[in-house]
Structure formats: structure tokens, C-alpha cells
Symmetry: C7
Subunit: 93 residues, 7 copies
Amino acid sequence: MLKPLGDRVVIRVLEQEEKTASGIFLPDTAKEKPSQGEVVAVGPGKVQDDGKRVALDVKVGDKIIFSKYAGTEVKFEGTKYLIVSERDILAII
Amino acid sequence: MLKPLGDRVVIRVLEQEEKTASGIFLPDTAKEKPSQGEVVAVGPGKVQDDGKRVALDVKVGDKIIFSKYAGTEVKFEGTKYLIVSERDILAII
Amino acid sequence: MLKPLGDRVVIRVLEQEEKTASGIFLPDTAKEKPSQGEVVAVGPGKVQDDGKRVALDVKVGDKIIFSKYAGTEVKFEGTKYLIVSERDILAII
Amino acid sequence: MLKPLGDRVVIRVLEQEEKTASGIFLPDTAKEKPSQGEVVAVGPGKVQDDGKRVALDVKVGDKIIFSKYAGTEVKFEGTKYLIVSERDILAII
Amino acid sequence: MLKPLGDRVVIRVLEQEEKTASGIFLPDTAKEKPSQGEVVAVGPGKVQDDGKRVALDVKVGDKIIFSKYAGTEVKFEGTKYLIVSERDILAII
Amino acid sequence: MLKPLGDRVVIRVLEQEEKTASGIFLPDTAKEKPSQGEVVAVGPGKVQDDGKRVALDVKVGDKIIFSKYAGTEVKFEGTKYLIVSERDILAII
Amino acid sequence: MLKPLGDRVVIRVLEQEEKTASGIFLPDTAKEKPSQGEVVAVGPGKVQDDGKRVALDVKVGDKIIFSKYAGTEVKFEGTKYLIVSERDILAII
């Protein structure tokens, strides 16, 4: 599996039908629209100035909303994933 | 419900009629115009350099003024919300 | 009343006639021209890296000069206010 | 009088004839040309990360050279002043 | 061999056929596409504010995904390498 | 004389003939070309986060190479000077 | 000789024939291409927030790869040198 570095998170992107099931509808405005996904792997956290790591606030299995334009796409063993930084995750559903 | 991360806040945006009721009128100028909302969920706060979190200054139920162009819109169970960073909140009414 | 967050300050903007009375005239140059106002509410101050707040240097009632292009306008109970960050305040008159 | 905030300084701008008297001539090049002035008020200094203030290096009465494009002009009781940040002051004459 | 400085890493870039073997396929979208490689040398880590170094999270032999537009290409003894900063490495496969 | 503030340095710019004498020739390329000068006054150093000053590495009398586009020109008692920040000084000859 | 300041390094640029001898070939791509050189002088290191210097990782005599567009060219006693910041050095060969 993919092991993200630092504060990065591997996300399985949820398709539109799945979004409807989990109760989120995206309005029709010019505002930035978020996407939804499920966390499948989390990094160990960033190293701070004092040399310690800050553990991430999301864990594997969390359904999340993230900024639509964030991250890097990869396909791994047939599934599409997105690798994003935790700061691009807006909320846990 | 939505659980925002870090210093993010979930806001229910107040419509124009509600704004009038709470006593704020937006003037007709070229200046940046704020919007109003009600806080419905707050994040745990950002982790600082010393590893501690700074709790947010707003709490659930606060009526707030925020920068109009801030945040990301989501619709959740039929209601429109905005997820903003606390630094985009200008004042509590 | 409005309770500003962080290092923000709520200002009642002084009109031109009031400016003349308090002795400030703005010269006719291409330079950035400041505006004047009276502080009506101050925030609790920003949280620093060590977790403490820095109290603001201005207090309610201060007549101040601030950068003309700073801040966000609101009208509250019929009066026009400006919410600015303290760093946009240049001097106390 | 004007009481500048933070690391700001109120300067009375010296006119060309005064510059000649104090021995500075500005060369005719495309380089940034400084202006001269006399310090008439100094701020209390900026608050640092440890909560202490750093007193300014200039004092009232200092003749200074400052970056020509810096600052905000005000006229106060008939005299033109400039409010600049201390970091825009290049040298004391 | 090449000894990278600071938080830099020397990567042998994996060609397309090697990518297929390790199970990653890049989708056909406008998103940023990552590349794959194998770590062949790691720097000693960056010096932090407290004067200590932070050891890197990747080690020689790791198969990694990195941002496609990152780094500087060199050819050394007939092999093409890329020197990237560790922060441009997204995940270990 | 001019007393520079912070980490600023007053430099007497060396003309072309002087450069030849001290052994530096500027090549004919599109690269940034440095200039030479002699330090005539140094500031007290910048105040750091812990409130202490960092003394400058150059002293009066040093022949230096500095970035050609750095600094602010002044003429003082008939001599052309440049006021630059120490970080724009590349090397001591 | 030239004494670089801070974290700067004086490099004698290696010409193409010398590069071949030391085993590096630059590929024909649109990627940023590095250059090679030999360190002839190193600065004392940058002063950190705690007032201490961080010694450089390169030493006189090191053969290095550096970013091609970095630095400032000087000719000194007939030899062409480049003054670069250590952070523009990618690896030691």
C-alpha cells in the first residue's frame, strides 16, 4: 500500500452517487466546491521546530471533505487515490 | 454533523432578512462587504510550535460577521454551510 | 454591540468636518492618504507563539489615524463602522 | 500631537533647501532616491515573540534619511508629516 | 557517488514499464501527475533552529512517488538521476 | 557622517579604474554583475528574537563585493555613497 | 582571496571537458540543468535565532553540483568564480 510522508494523507475519492448517500449536496455557485473522500492511509505527521512530530487529526476510515483543487492523483492496483496535505482537509463528516 | 479540523469553523449563513433583524445593514460602497452567520461547529484549534492547541475564540451559537469571500460552501442534509478559518471571522455580534 | 476578534478594532469613521475640527488636513498628493476614526471596541489581542495574548495599544475612545484602504465596512444600528486590524492603525491623535 | 503606534515614527519632511544645508545631494540616476526628515515622534516599539518591546534606535530630533516611497502623509496643525516604519529609515545624519 | 546536501535525496527515476510492474497507473486527467523512483542517496537532513538535524524519513532502496515537476536532473556514470528535496516526495510505495 | 541603522552599511562605491587595481574583472555575460566598494560606516546590527543584536561581519575599511542592484544612493559632502543591507554584501576581498 | 559572508561559497566553475572527466553528463531535456564546480572558499555560516552560527556542510576542495541559475559571477586575478549560497548547492560528487 502507499505510505504517505509527513502530514500527507491518501484519500479514496468518493464519486457523486456516494456523496448523495452520505448527505452532502454541492450548491450551484461560483464558490470553491469541496470534494469528498475516505482516508485510506495517513502520514506520521510533520516534524516541528522542537524535533517532535504532530500526529494527524484524521485517521483511516474517516469520511472527509477536502478542497477540490488540492493534491496529486495516483492510480494504485486499479483504484484512484489522491494524496493531499492534511491542511487541505476541511472537515470530517 | 460536520467536524471541522484545526482552526476551522462551520457557519450557517444568515440570509438578508435575518441580517436586518439582527441590526446590521451593509452600506453601498466599493469596500469589502462582510457576511453574517451563526457558528454551528468549531474545530479543536491549531497546533502551535510548542505542540499545544489554541482553543478558538468563537463558540457554537455565536452570531458572527465574516469576510464575504472566505471559505468553502457545502450543503449538508439540505442546509447550506460555509467552512471558514477563524481568522476570517471579523467580530461577534 | 460588535466584539472584534484577535487584534481587530471597531472604528467609527470620522467625517471630513470632524477631521478639520481635530486639526488634520490631508494634502493633495499621490501618496496614500490616511483616514481618521474613533475606537469603539477592541479585540482581546492575538495569541502569540507562547500561548499568551498581546493586549492592544489602542483603547475605546482613542482618536486614531488609519490606512485609508484598510478594513471591512459594516453598518450596525444605523452607524457606519470599520473593522480593522491594529497594525493598520498608524497613530493616536 | 501624533503618537505613532508600534515601530512607527512621525517625520517632518525636510525641503530641498534644507537638504543642501545639511550636506546631502541626491545624484541624477535611476536608483531609488532617499528623502530627509527630522524625527518628531517615535512609537513605543514592536512587541516581540517573548512579549517584550524593542525600543526604537531613532529619537526625537534626529535628522534621518528614509526611503522616498515609504510612509503615509498627514497634515497636522498646518505642518506636513510622514508616518513611516523604522525599518524604512536608512541612516541618521 | 553523489552525496546530497541538507534534506535532498538522489532518486533513480523509474521508467514506465517499471511503474506498471509496481502497480501504479497514472490516470488521464489534468491533475498533477506524480512520478516514481528509487532512492539511491539521502542527505544528512536540514539543520533546525535549535542547531540539530532532522533525519530524513526515506532511506536508500525505498520506492517512492514524487512530484513530477520537482528536482534537478543529472546523469552520473551513465545513469539518469534526479535530486529532489524530501518535501517533494509524496509517499513510499 | 552617516550612521546607518540596523544591519545597514554605508559604502563608498569604487569606480572601474579602482576595480582593475584590486584585481577584479567583471565578465561579459548575462549573469548578475557585482559591484565593489569600501565600507565607510556600519550599523549596530539587527535586533533578534531574543532581544540581542547581531554585530555585522564587515567593518570600516573592508573592500567588498556587493550585488549591483542593491541599496540606496546618497551624495554626502560631495562623495557618492550607497546604503545597503549587509545581506547584499557577497564577499570581502 | 575572496572571503564570502554568511552561508555563501566561492566556486570555481568547471568547464565541460572537466565535467566529462568527473563522470557527469547533462541530459537533453527541458529540466533545470545543474552545473559543476570546485569550492575554493566558504563563509563562516549564517547566524541563527539563538545567536550561534551553523557551519557549512561543504569544505574547500569539494567538487559540487549547483543550480545553474544561482549566484553572482566575478573574475578575480584572471579566474572566473561564482559566489552562491550553500542552499543552491545540490550535492557533493
